[in-house]
Amino acid sequence: MAGEVQYIIDDQERKVFMLNREVHVSEEILRQEMQRVFGKCWIYVGHGSEVRNPGDFVTRRVAGRPVIFCRDAKGVVRCHFNTCRHRGATVCTERQGNARRFFCVYHGWSYGNDGSLARVPGDDAYSECFQKSELGLKHPARFEAYRDLWFMCLDPDVEPLVDYLGAATDYIDLVFDQSPSGTIEVIAGTQEYDVEANWKLMVENSVDDYHLPTTHSTWLNFMRNSGVVIEPPKEAGLILPTKGYAIDLGNGHFTTDNVNFRGRPVAHWIPLYGEAAKPEIDEIRGELVRRLGEARATRVADTNRNLVIFPNLVINDGSSVTIRTFSPEGPGRMHVTAWAAGPVEETESARARRLDAFLTFYGPGGFATPDDVEVLEQVQQGLANWQDDPWSEMSRGMGKAKDEPQLNSDEHHLRTFWRHWNQLMVGK
């Protein structure tokens, strides 16, 4: 139980950080996480571009809750719980579409796309106390957006989303700066897959650059085979060919910030894209420089960033842009949903290049993600020994002086996550 069991050992004197492996296997801890983490934090629902027109909707599960993410007839983006107020059935079974009404097929109650209860068959059988105006679809306590990235929170007293995101907004802005108008859209085609591992292992994996040379050696070979120059690191302590940092953004958010070596659709050409792509990449680069200036353009085009918004949203701006979220389905299983995203202005050829670059690394058929899935599942299998071998070691980089930067291949950002998680779970 919380308070009795120590989840982390954060020994600043000995520079040792250890994680109690029970956090990845316990049903009881997951039950508490649903209240203290998923019940208290802003949780990503979707992007406004998924529901472009009035009446557009998508249904999905967010933090285990079936919701309808939609744009109502007046153009307001909304999030309804997909649960009939009458007897509890879902009122929308389609994955996506456009609807004026959501209809419960059990007894025929129907709701407007703004969530209001529109019609109850035989409503003359009810007393005067029956108020249709009070029986609209329920919704999360709070629902707010930053740059059309919509989040819900079940806690009415939570700070505003933009305050919650805090310094992470700078890193979201860097992604959106790829677009001349600052407008990024989610691209059709959703990758949804389960991983038989605790959801927090995906948080760690999404920003852990220490694992790249071992877990992803076949991807590195593929990049080499495709003409990308991958040199051994020149500086002591580096794991990757180029330098990168791990940055604590506060509130449990964190990011890697790496000098690019792997190519970027916006806008760093690599041989993998083909000679024919060079002029267009140059053009995209030129537009960035004209709009943002040389320094900012370099930040946008020549750095890769894997950003975690606590607790379960990852925005990777690497080989391509991916928005990825994952929810626990029991302590040993998570459901991952991932999208590609890109500037709305992108040409057909640039969009095709972005999607191709995505698949070189990301997703269940990519050249890297399947190996991430595999190692996370191997961790979960190994953790079956948690009672006999109870601590995971996460001290990498901890011995550095306070003013010395933490590298992407250190475990500073992972510790950032765990400290915040621990704070929410046990209040210290």
């Binding site: 994955r95 990758q191 897959y193 191709d356 595999e374």
Partner: protein
């Protein structure tokens, strides 16, 4: 390996196409991927659309897999490497192909659809059942049929418990 050699009859019969698909399945299930590569044209494509957009184009829609011929060769290099952790040890797969239909037949190419079930087994994991339809564009070549396009449409609404597609589906 193929029954069909030097002179391909026009039109091909369903039985001849079935023999080709069965032979290909045998190569894939036995991980003879270098031999499998010999069945592909130089402009071959291997496509697995995302489960929610089976009819999309890979140029505008995010797919699970959208390989051109070079990417297919790189994929084979990768999956045969013992450091391809998702496929080491290799999955054991067994695919069943039925409902084979020649839906279009021209002098040079034919379009063939077939239903499939592919069972995938890994140690300590439950069986995964990939069910769907193959859609082939096959090309007549001097030595027999070759695969110009191999599109795999999965029936599952999402990959979900199927996990990764780390083998050649």
């Amino acid at each position: 390996m193929m029954a069909i050699t030097d002179s391909l009859p026009i039109p091909l019969t369903r039985a001849q196409v079935e023999d080709f698909l069965y032979a290909e399945a045998e190569l894939l299930d036995s991980w003879k991927l270098d031999e499998w590569l010999q069945l592909l044209t130089d402009d071959a494509e291997y496509l697995v659309p995302s489960n929610d957009c089976p009819q999309g184009s890979h140029r505008t829609t995010l797919f699970t897999i959208a390989d051109n011929a070079e990417r297919i060769r790189q994929r084979v290099i990768r999956v045969m490497d013992p450091n391809c952790h998702a496929e080491f040890p290799k999955s054991r797969t067994r695919r069943f192909i039925s409902n084979v239909r020649i839906v279009e037949q021209q002098d040079r190419e034919l379009v063939v659809t077939a239903n499939f079930i592919c069972y995938r087994f890994r140690r300590h994991e439950r069986v995964r059942e990939y069910v769907g339809q193959y859609r082939y564009v096959l090309r007549r070549a001097d030595l027999g049929l070759l695969i110009r396009e191999r599109r795999v449409l999965l029936d599952a609404h999402e990959l979900g418990s199927l996990g990764s597609v780390s083998f050649i589906l």
